[in-house]
């Protein structure tokens, strides 16, 4: 298999601290309102406690990216060397079609530039030998960079509950699911 970089989201370790999401803003100094990486709490149907388990998500750098497919000005490309889906913002005309079409909500509209933008997987940092800003910032090592060509964790899943199953796009993100502690509730009020 060809090299394909992706994020490994370890929901068992993730504490939903939003450090990764803010580290992204810190690196790219995004306009207020522009979010490349978001930390999504799992709804109680999936994890039975309010805002206690999370998926940190950005672009999934899909094998068959919807954004790339639908862009009328061909402003997206997939790097042959590592599979990163790159948005060439200078070519973007701000039609919003990628924003509409990505099922994971990765591309966002920059209201000042009036163009779309999304997670670049920090390819400039990667090319300089650095980790992506979000990965480097994670205090619990819950967000890591993987190469699907060599990644072989049998416990990892591609489409856990809470993440839309889009097989044709084949997103490159992999997950480990959150766990629950043994819970001892108070007797006097239960």
């Amino acid at each position: 298999m060809k090299k394909q970089l992706g994020f490994y989201v370890d929901a068992k370790r993730c504490i939903g601290c939003f450090t990764c999401a803010m580290a992204c803003k810190n690196q790219y100094q995004q306009e207020p309102g522009v979010i490349w990486r978001q930390v999504y709490p799992l709804k109680e149907e999936i994890y039975p406690h309010h805002e206690r388990a999370f998926y940190s998500l950005a672009c999934n750098h899909c094998e068959h990216p919807a954004c790339l497919e639908v862009c009328p000005v061909d402003a997206y490309s997939k790097r042959p060397q590592d599979g990163i889906v790159v948005h060439h913002q200078e070519q973007c005309i701000g039609c919003g079609n990628c924003i509409r079409s990505c099922p994971y909500g990765a591309p966002r509209f920059n209201p000042v530039q009036k163009r779309a933008e999304k997670c670049s997987l920090c390819w400039q940092r990667l090319d300089a030998g650095l980790d992506p800003a979000c990965v480097a910032s994670c205090p619990t090592n819950a967000l890591t960079l993987i190469d699907l060509a060599t990644f072989a964790d049998p416990g990892a899943v591609q489409f856990p509950p809470g993440f839309p199953k889009m097989g044709r796009l084949n997103p490159s993100t992999r997950f480990r699911q959150a766990e629950l502690p043994k819970i001892i509730k108070r007797e006097d009020v239960s």
Partner: protein
């Protein structure tokens, strides 16, 4: 489309109920960021950059008085901080920051920053007028001289300062006060004083193990702390312990994020930590699982404690008090006592009760009787001041000749007071309880408090009983606030002075949890007209001496870097293995510890030099000599109200930034579904939370993360929102704190309230 069209459309669409609910759902998921309503937001500064290399780097340190006190590297180009990262040299933070630390660049360049000195025509009016620094210093200096003339002393000038900006040179604010004469000081700490006193009584000092030795623990109880939010860099050490086979148990009244990551979560009735801990001790005693050898060799008073347990404590009683089932108390006790080493992380939240100090003493006793004090991977971990032995050059200033002050006893002015009180001087500062600031201002006489200087603190967000504080402010003739944003205290100030961020001046920072020391270099020139606290002091001193030569002893010209360097001494250099402070430019340094464990040599700093289960010093300070049960506060309303820290803020800082609002736009009160159902409250409803102190209006979130008898809201300041939880928190004292910090703590979590649909 134009905003007008968009607004018109929105109005049409507002007819649809689902539209609103979907929008709120969108807001919750952040998906709205892609909506064209983004066009309505103001555009700001220079945004949109990529990593390009070739940066100049500087060493900085987060000065927010947090467990982690992260060492920062700032990346600068063309005199602008482009981004920040954690320093990889620290094995505690391992190159990481937190969500707040990663927002620092936005904080520096925020369009909301206070840019120059300003004067408000009418407090709360928002009618601000720009002043030059000369004008501002002139107004302030004349007021100070006016007070001195009227009262014959400066006791009418009060300082309230805490740890919002916590560099060592920020103690120059206290220095500035001392250099003016004897003043009134709000002393003590709202944070952790009850526990400090407790650990001092038990062991002679507050001194925790190196948190980096947590992976050696075989059993960890995190008791009333939430490191997943308040010490994110400690989590990896807790995980490492778990991965090495240790069990992690979280004891907390709330199902916190840390609880979700534990092996076991024990929900406890808030304020009954004492009872549960005593129940554990009793069961360990009954099973003979305590460390007889250690107790005999290293402690005094254990037999008295054992007798107290046998006579007064049963597991059944503990279960009744705490709500924790008997079987679980027994299991927890047996597991904890049989694991070696076992440790307890004692949180600050659990001592913010009227019996908080007593509870910490029992937890200390639990760790000690199982022989876990002094062991790597063990310990009763609360905090430490081992790495704080600076010169406090900026703080220790002499009053002008002939100054008059307070006649009478004077104790410590806080946990970091190294001056040793007033000593033999004839006069002292007037010490008032920082945790009752409002009442103290209202009560102060001869002279009354005429002027309040607020620095490194947000009085109207953080101090207790806000309605009373507003009344107290009415008594003040002048309020000067030194800050970076127009927060709720600045709203009630007469003059505001813009202060620098960490990137704009020199200082040095230590932690009360880990053992790293960080230099804070000046990375950029101060923005706008901001000055650091010591530069403000120098500017005030210049004007004071122009108007009345000799009226202020503070230096009139200061080289901040030189003043930072003057804080170092040989002991600090030896402790950290430094030849000069310049070594810290290569990265933070860690203290050379003989052992990762505190008290590893078994020599305690108590009068008996042993661990004191029975502390006569404690008795002398008005408490029980033994770690004993102390009743909690009687409820004064239907539900308990907890107001702990949020992950997006440290107290009133950071949440106000627009970047933070992108992730957390508004506050909620968290209510158990059963309590909500009884009141007809649905998820998302606007509600009124009210008690004898005041009232807060906000939206409700229904969750079983909180027990049915508890309401929870996070204390923080949202820009543009009136939300303020101190409208519901009174200023009732905790049991301990006066001994080491000058004033008792405050029972923040012994509050009660009710809730109804708004």
């Amino acid at each position: 489309m134009s905003p007008m069209t968009k607004q018109a459309m929105e109005r049409i669409l507002e007819n649809s109920v689902s539209r609103r609910s979907f929008l709120s759902r969108l807001l919750a998921t952040g998906a709205l960021a892609g909506l064209p309503c983004g066009l309505l937001r103001p555009g700001t500064a220079e945004a949109g950059q990529v990593w390009e290399g070739g940066y100049q780097t500087f060493r900085n340190a987060c000065p927010r008085n947090c467990y982690d006190t992260c060492s920062i590297i700032s990346y600068v180009k063309d005199g602008v901080v482009k981004f920040v990262e954690g320093a990889p040299e620290s094995s505690f933070t391992r190159g990481g920051l937190c969500v707040k630390g990663n927002s620092y660049v936005r904080r520096v360049y925020s369009p909301d920053r206070i840019k120059y000195p300003m004067e408000q025509q009418g407090r709360g009016s928002g009618n601000w007028k720009r002043l030059s620094w000369d004008q501002a210093m002139d107004k302030i200096a004349r007021k100070i001289l006016d007070i001195k003339e009227r009262d014959g002393s400066l006791l009418g000038l009060a300082l309230t300062k805490y740890s919002g900006n916590f560099g060592i040179t920020n103690y120059g604010v206290e220095g500035m006060m001392s250099s003016l004469g004897y003043t009134t000081r709000m002393v003590g700490t709202p944070c952790w004083p009850a526990g400090i006193d407790a650990q001092n009584f038990d062991m002679g000092s507050m001194w925790c193990n190196d948190p980096e030795d947590l992976p050696q623990a075989r059993y960890v109880i995190v008791w009333g702390a939430n490191p997943a939010w308040c010490s994110v860099h400690s989590m990896k050490f807790l995980y490492a312990a778990q991965e090495a086979g240790a069990k992690m148990v979280v004891v907390d009244p709330v199902f916190t994020q840390t609880a979700a990551k534990a092996d076991e979560y024990v929900e406890i009735r808030a304020g009954e930590d004492c009872a549960l801990a005593l129940g554990l001790c009793r069961h360990i005693l009954d099973r003979g699982l305590y460390d007889r050898e250690w107790v005999t060799a290293h402690s005094v008073g254990f037999d008295d404690f054992a007798a107290y347990l046998r006579d007064n404590v049963t597991v059944e009683w503990a279960a009744g008090k705490s709500g924790v089932p008997i079987a679980q108390i027994k299991a927890l006790a047996e597991e904890f006592a049989q694991a070696r080493p076992a440790t307890i992380w004692i949180g600050y939240g659990m001592q913010r009760h009227v019996n908080g100090g007593a509870a910490v003493r029992v937890l200390d006793a639990l760790v000690a009787m199982t022989g876990n004090v002094g062991k790597p991977g063990g310990g009763a971990r609360y905090g430490h001041l081992q790495t704080w032995g600076f010169n406090y050059h900026a703080m220790l200033q002499k009053p002008p000749e002939g100054s008059k002050g307070w006649l009478g006893a004077s104790g410590p002015k806080g946990e970091f007071d190294v001056s040793g009180g007033a000593g033999n001087a004839k006069y002292a500062d007037r010490a008032l309880n920082i945790n009752k600031t409002a009442q103290e201002i209202l009560d102060a006489k001869d002279p009354p408090i005429r002027m309040l200087w607020v620095a490194c603190k947000n009085v109207l967000s953080q101090d207790f009983d806000r309605p009373k504080m507003l009344k107290a402010f009415d008594k003040l003739e002048m309020v000067v606030a030194v800050d970076q944003f127009f927060n709720q205290t600045v709203e009630q100030a007469d003059i505001v002075l813009p202060v620098t961020t960490l990137f704009e001046d020199w200082t040095v920072n230590a932690s009360y949890w880990h053992y790293w020391l960080s230099l804070n270099e000046q990375a950029i020139k101060p923005l706008h007209e901001a000055k650091s606290d010591i530069q403000i002091a120098a500017a005030l001193s210049r004007r004071m001496n122009e108007l009345a030569p000799g009226s202020c002893t503070f230096a009139t010209e200061i080289d901040s870097k030189d003043w930072m360097a003057r804080e170092f001494n040989k002991d600090i250099y030896d402790l950290f293995g430094l030849s000069s402070w310049e070594d810290l430019r290569k990265g933070p340094a860690k203290a050379k510890l003989a052992s990762s464990a505190s008290w590893a040599d078994g020599k305690f700093a108590t009068p008996s030099k042993k661990y004191e289960f029975r502390s006569d010093l404690c008795a002398k300070n008005g408490h029980d000599a033994l770690p004993m049960y102390k009743e909690g506060r009687a409820p004064y309303d239907k539900l308990r109200l907890l107001t702990p820290h949020h992950k997006f803020a440290i107290h009133s800082q950071f949440q106000n930034l627009d970047w933070m609002a992108d992730f957390n736009p508004a506050p909620f009160v968290y209510i158990h579904p059963r309590a909500a159902a009884q009141r007809g409250i649905a998820d998302g409803d606007m509600v009124r939370v009210f008690n004898k102190v005041g009232e807060v209006r906000l939206a409700a979130r229904l969750t079983s993360d909180v027990p049915p008898d508890t309401l929870l809201m996070y204390e923080t300041w949202y820009k543009g929102l009136a939300f303020n939880c101190q409208n519901l928190v009174d200023d009732t004292s905790a049991d301990m704190g006066a001994y080491k910090t000058g004033a008792p703590g405050v029972a923040i979590h012994d509050q009660f309230a009710d809730v109804a649909r708004a």
